[in-house]
Symmetry: C2
Subunit: 519 residues, 2 copies
């Protein structure tokens, strides 16, 4: 083929590897990549006005598309701005290919103002980091980045791209062959250990996360539970759960430490399938670091690279459950609420009105804690959560989920405190006319921290602390915020108003924001 | 003394060390520190709704107060969100003491969701990092953090505070004695080398940065120039320049690479005083990595820890210039502009109307490039710049500068693209009723990148690239954005409107934002 520059080879390699969406916040060192995006057809480019929007969108995209998007970030500070949502993405096992522009090789020795430690910054949230050193290597390096991102259960690759490797010419072709994604299975001994526990007659919890929470594997998990009397439980935080009517319902481990301990108290065996050892979100004075009783038997059935769907099918066979009827939820939506707009009334309205096949992005923190039980029999939907605890995930995740979801309605349940971290994402929703309904649970502050002050034994606080825990004085108008960035918005102060606005927004094919003033 | 918990000892040590402002964005692991802020009097606590606001405010505070503020950040992701403005602060030599909350020691082994590599993240932007291991060590560790921050020329300390060290009791007293800040001087040989160059009769540039750009040392620099015929030049990016009427004017190295090369082309000697080797901001195809001609004589007169004021005084003595009259600017403000609102008309309005002793925070990127010459004879003011190129610095820096500046008016010249990175800082301006006038130069996009596309030889771009370089579609209303967060705001579309609004805002004792629609 004719000679191309490295940036064009990179774009063609990404496209050949199935990476056809690029969330970008470019700077000078990425200009040739931007030019290549222009020259080569096939890449959807989505601008974020802040890098946290870019990385959070890539996370949301990966959760729905089950494949990586690329991000385009500018040097170490740009990557730094994207770290928090890469942290969340890593904990969701979302595959992502980060492209981070770097100074021309050699330019770094002059320590010009944007010079920083890109690899060191990337290492804290990436599973794979490489700096490409020549336009001739870009095809191979980009293919490796894609391959690593697609390695089960989904990983974060960061490819650092010095500007001269992007602008130099090369005769090397873009990579075209991509290794299929391999998966593994637990050993026969591991299966035997799990089967012994399941057949022991003692209390056993199947603790699930990752791909085990999709509809088909959940049916097998339910068959196992029906056959053996085991309980199903999901991790507290999960990248994606397929749930609602026609699917198996699974409760999640509660966030408050005492409730978490109570759920595991009677367990004699805990079998992990894609899940981590259950732990409280934080360490508290006088509380244990594990939620399981120390004497319980922990069976880590799966490893990272296992095919969780196949594991649950195999485990169902082992316990003779393949022919059992799984416990499937019937469609049973709550009544539309009326009267005072409490948090639960707002959740009830969403559970009652959400359309079939919606994607729910939940960063409502305290306000949304009842959504899971309330929406158990709602129309079938995907449920995406804040997985890493780094708030500022919801608005960007909704961006990415909407782009991956095509015409699916995305409903973002968003805390007022957390909304402010990456509020710029609303602008991208407007620009791309994304089908996102954002509901801000406006309760005036970091309500979770007020609970946490008590949990750590610092319950009695005064004015200086209060000012660090509330976001009133002045009150924020989320309606004006949204409108300033081109997103239509309105306020709801009663349940009836919220219901009316959800109905209105459901009919739109574009973004809308409701500021729900929670009482 | 009676037993206190570690958090209280930390707050008392900070106060004893002169650190009496804390910019905070706390989470669960910092609740005891928040409680201690409540219990111990004397710390001004300022909430930022995003960590980039917190670290940028600490940067602005340090530039004006010449001492560190504390930041309070939540685990690795919270620190990550603050990295970009720590990068800028580091390049401004701003002293900062970061306090980063960490899980209880031992809790990390469970890998709960917010677990991350705090020290690894901090290392990329800190000069000193330590994790405290016991409440008994906190006084000593915090004193070391303050000492390192105050080391010339101003450094970034990061103290990681596991939750249990904050909540545990200790009988160790808060630290009370703080080592005075030491400084060094260049060797006699270095001075001789500089003097030889200055007396050579060949073209010599004194390239200054850091504390050399304060009013008094600039007078000595001017005396040297008058006595020897040397030229004065400031680095492109500097933390703070004292300038305007009654002070010595110094030009800055231009940002565009060709202009930068032109400034140095004739130089035979370049003497660095607090400055780095002059380099283009980026590497470009076919352009050198240094701005100086390769044959010029580079004299690195000062080291990091030198007292730059004393160096300039000594150098003036060495060349017999102590009695020379420095070249002082007379008060000479431009006329107030009228007609079309161009970028230069807007800058002229600011230069004409700014009150005495104002603090100008300049993150206007391309739009503000003429501000420096236009305001040469304006009322005396401090000029604070984006030092690290990581945009999103201006609005937070204005927060910190206003808090350090007391009643001084802060004028933030802000690009529309860069404003969106840390727009949440406006809320803190409203809450603290800070004396900040923000002027948004609304030109619809990342104008600098359009110039850079051409500089790197990718001048000819199409629709996909254009969408990555502009922030219109939809247009952002900065007026509504500001109002949504409690900041009064208005739009100016002509020079007359801008002049009227600047006059109105000058009389306010609180924040105001002007959206200047630049033609």
């Amino acid at each position: 083929m004719e000679s191309s520059n490295g940036a064009e080879i990179l774009v063609r390699t990404l496209l050949n590897g199935g990476v056809d969406v690029c969330f970008a916040n470019p700077g000078t060192s990425e200009m040739h990549f931007v030019a290549a995006l222009d020259k080569v057809n096939g890449m959807r480019c989505v601008l974020g006005l802040f890098e946290g929007v870019v990385t959070g969108a890539a996370d949301g995209y990966a959760r729905i598309a089950d494949k990586p998007a690329a991000t385009l970030l500018h040097l170490a500070p740009g990557l730094g701005n994207g770290l928090a949502n890469l942290h969340n993405a890593k904990r969701a096992n979302s595959p992502i290919v980060n492209i981070v522009g770097e100074h021309r090789q050699g330019h770094k020795v002059t320590d010009s103002i944007l010079t920083g430690d890109i690899e060191g910054t990337a290492a804290t949230v990436s599973d794979w980091v490489r700096t490409t050193t020549s336009a001739d290597n870009i095809a191979e390096d980009a293919a490796a980045a894609i391959r690593h991102a697609n390695t089960r259960p989904g990983r974060i690759s960061t490819l650092v791209l010095p500007a001269d490797t992007a602008w130099s010419q090369t005769n090397v072709d873009p990579a075209a062959d991509f290794t299929p994604v391999l998966s593994t299975m637990p050993s026969a001994e591991k299966f035997s250990e799990a089967v012994r526990a399941l057949r022991s007659g003692e209390r056993t919890i199947l603790l699930l996360s990752g791909r085990a929470l999709r509809a088909a594997p959940l049916e097998n998990a339910s068959r196992i539970a029906v056959a053996t009397g085991a309980s199903l439980l999901a991790q507290y935080a999960n990248g994606r759960i397929e749930r609602g009517a026609g699917r198996v319902a699974i409760p999640r481990t509660p966030a408050p430490v005492d409730q978490g301990l109570a759920v595991f108290r009677e367990a004699r065996h805990v079998i992990l399938i894609g899940a981590k050892v259950p732990a409280p979100l934080f360490g508290y004075p006088g509380k244990p670091d594990w939620l399981m009783p120390p004497e319980a038997n922990l069976i880590e059935l799966t490893s990272d690279t296992d095919d969780l769907e196949a594991v649950l099918q195999e485990l169902a066979s082992c316990v003779g459950a393949r022919m059992m009827q799984p416990h499937i939820e019937n469609l049973m939506v709550p009544a539309v609420p009326s009267g005072a707009l409490t948090a639960d009334a707002a959740l009830q309205a969403v559970a009652a009105l959400m359309p079939e096949n919606a994607i729910v992005v939940d960063e409502s923190i305290t306000a949304g804690r009842s959504f899971f039980p309330i929406s158990r029999g709602s129309a079938p939907h995907d449920y995406l959560q804040l997985t890493g605890g780094a708030i500022g995930s919801g608005i960007p995740m909704a961006v990415g989920a909407a782009i991956a979801g095509g015409n699916r309605k995305v409903i973002n349940l968003e805390g007022d405190g957390s909304a402010m971290y990456t509020i710029q994402g609303l602008w991208t929703q407007a620009r791309e006319n994304l089908n996102v309904l954002t509901i801000i649970f406006a309760n005036g502050g970091y309500k979770i921290l007020k609970g946490e002050m008590a949990s750590v034994g610092a319950a009695d606080w005064g004015a200086r602390a209060e000012r660090l825990l509330s976001v009133v004085e002045p009150e924020i108008s989320y309606v004006r915020l949204a409108e300033s960035m081109g997103v239509e918005a309105a306020m709801a102060q009663t349940a009836e108003e919220l219901v009316r606005l959800i109905r209105y927004a459901s009919a739109l094919d574009g973004p809308f924001l409701i500021e729900a003033r929670i009482q």
